[in-house]
């Protein structure tokens, strides 16, 4: 059984890339460009890992992470940050497992 991964990024091109890549690595990714839709899917289905962008319109990665943890504290969440924010990156957020600079180092997915 393939591991199910939830991906949230407001950039469609980034979603597509992550989806293709993770599928090749034998995961079962599902992509969303909106955090709200992703949250609905998260509540409905069972995911093993969540991968989310930090900077998104509406609900950002940290808020999204907090909502996920309130529901399922056992699921690890990886928040990706692109460079390009003058504000310092949040070092800690409830439920945040890893804060990863994107692009991700793909070797961690083995």
């Amino acid at each position: 059984v393939k591991s199910r991964i939830l991906i949230v990024d407001d950039e469609r091109s980034m979603c597509d890339l992550l989806e293709t890549d993770l599928r090749l690595r034998d995961f079962a990714p599902r992509c969303f460009t909106s955090a709200d839709e992703a949250f609905e899917a998260f509540c409905r289905d069972d995911f093993e890992v969540v991968l989310t962008d930090l900077k998104m319109p509406g609900m950002d990665g940290i808020q999204f992470c907090s909502r996920l943890v309130a529901n399922r504290p056992d699921v690890p969440v990886i928040v990706m940050t692109a460079f390009g924010s003058l504000e310092p990156s949040p070092r800690y957020a409830p439920g945040l497992t890893t804060l990863s600079p994107s692009p991700l180092s793909w070797n961690c997915w083995r």
């Binding site: 091109s13 980034m14 890549d21 692109a82 460079f83 390009g84």
Partner: protein, 410 residues
């Protein structure tokens, strides 16, 4: 003057008779002399003075001193004239003396003080006045010197403060520039970062050799799309920095607006927005780069359309009016051509107002705007000697007005 002996009781015609009637002399006694005025047979007036002389005879007699009145008058006028001359001479002399002494005592120091005040007025505070004396003028000179010293000290302080203020302002400006550069760098990093990640990721996938032919083609398309996105951003950046110099020529702004509005009508319809432009009958000719102004207008109108998610009306006006340039020392109203773009959109939050024209500042959803549009418009308008005025009410709409001074017309 005539002196003769007279008997006081002698009748006129008798020898030694007095010149006045003997009846006037009956009361004369030894101890007194009696002056009496009288006239002789020719009508000449005389003053007679009688000196009784004690005699052993029963007759009274004495000396008669007579003096013609004309002679007396002459004496009087002589005395008056002499006195007057004497007084005038004395007055002149004392006047001269007063002038000479006064000039030495007051005039000269006053002249020096006046000259000193004149120098102070001209801004020369150096060279104190020293009056070697102990009076009020010396006191005045000392006060003047003190005042100059104080003034010089204050001037020096002001100069120092001015220098410090300029330095502080320069530092602030530098900090502001750094902030803008930082924002620009962050903006570029953010805007180019995502497409670069995608390009790198896709290239990695292709290189891994695990993709099917279809997937390789798909990845290549994605790489191309991201590359185009980056090209657009870079072109916009260049527009912002504007390496190209504007080609200015007199144009009627009504035509530029009209052309731009026609170009944007399709986009507006897609967003349920209506563009309203009714040209004035008055021409509005200004020397501008028409292509650059088309860009300014496009940016303003596209913003107006995007500010109305539910659709609405964008009113555009071109008119001539007088206005005062902001952040200018010149208080005068100048003749301008104004282009007004008014929407019925969501408005601009007060806290965003000051960032409006900063590069990469955007309130739009990611992907909808780069935050360069208004800063490009601002740069172009500034380069044409104009400015952009913004008014906005939340949920009622915003109004951007571009002012171009008519002075730039050739």
């Amino acid at each position: 003057m005539r002196i003769r002996w007279v008997w006081f009781d002698a009748q006129p015609g008798e020898p030694f008779s007095p010149s006045v009637g003997s009846e006037h002399l009956t009361s004369v006694t030894i101890e007194q002399h009696l002056p009496i005025e009288g006239a002789d047979a020719e009508g000449m007036s005389y003053l007679h003075i009688y000196w009784p002389v004690a005699l052993s005879t029963p007759r009274h007699g004495g000396l008669e001193v007579s003096k013609a009145m004309t002679e007396l008058e002459q004496n009087k006028t002589d005395v008056i004239r002499r006195t007057a001359l004497w007084i005038a001479g004395m007055a002149m002399l004392s006047g001269l003396l007063a002038t000479v002494v006064g000039f030495r005592l007051i005039g000269k120091p006053l002249q020096r003080l006046t000259e000193k005040t004149r120098r102070i007025a001209a801004g020369d505070l150096l060279g104190p006045v020293h009056l070697r004396r102990g009076d009020e003028l010396a006191e005045l000179a000392d006060s003047l010197n003190d005042m100059c010293e104080q003034l010089a000290k204050s001037q020096d302080e002001i100069r120092h403060e001015g220098v410090a203020r300029i330095a502080a302002l320069e530092q602030l400006r530098h900090a502001d520039r750094l902030k803008t550069v930082g924002r620009l760098a962050a903006g570029i990093a953010h805007e180019l970062g995502t497409p670069l990640n995608v390009v790198s990721g896709r290239a990695g996938l292709i290189a891994s050799g695990k993709l099917s032919n279809d997937e390789i083609a798909e990845s290549a398309v994605a790489v191309k799309a991201e590359a185009e996105k980056m090209t657009t951003i870079i072109r916009q950046l260049l527009d912002f920095a504007r390496a190209g110099t504007p080609h200015k020529a007199p144009v009627d702004l009504r035509h530029v607006v009209s052309q731009t509005v026609d170009l944007l009508r399709a986009l507006a319809e897609k967003h349920k927005a209506q563009l309203c432009f009714i040209p004035d009958s008055d021409p509005a000719v200004v020397e501008v780069d028409a292509a650059q102004f088309q860009q300014v207008l496009t940016n303003l109108i596209v913003n107006a359309i995007q500010a109305m998610p539910e659709g609405g009306k964008v009113d555009i006006h071109v008119r001539r009016q007088t206005a005062r340039a902001p952040d200018s020392d010149d208080d005068r109203q100048q003749a301008c051509c104004a282009i007004e773009v008014r929407d019925q959109g969501v408005g601009i939050a007060a806290e965003n107002m000051q960032h409006l024209f900063e590069p990469f500042f955007t309130t739009k959803e990611v992907g909808e705007g780069t935050g360069l549009g208004l800063s490009i418009a601002y740069g172009i308008v500034r380069e044409h000697g104009g400015w952009i005025d913004v008014t906005s009410r939340p949920n009622e709409g915003s109004c951007f007005t571009v002012f171009l001074p008519e002075g730039t017309k050739s």
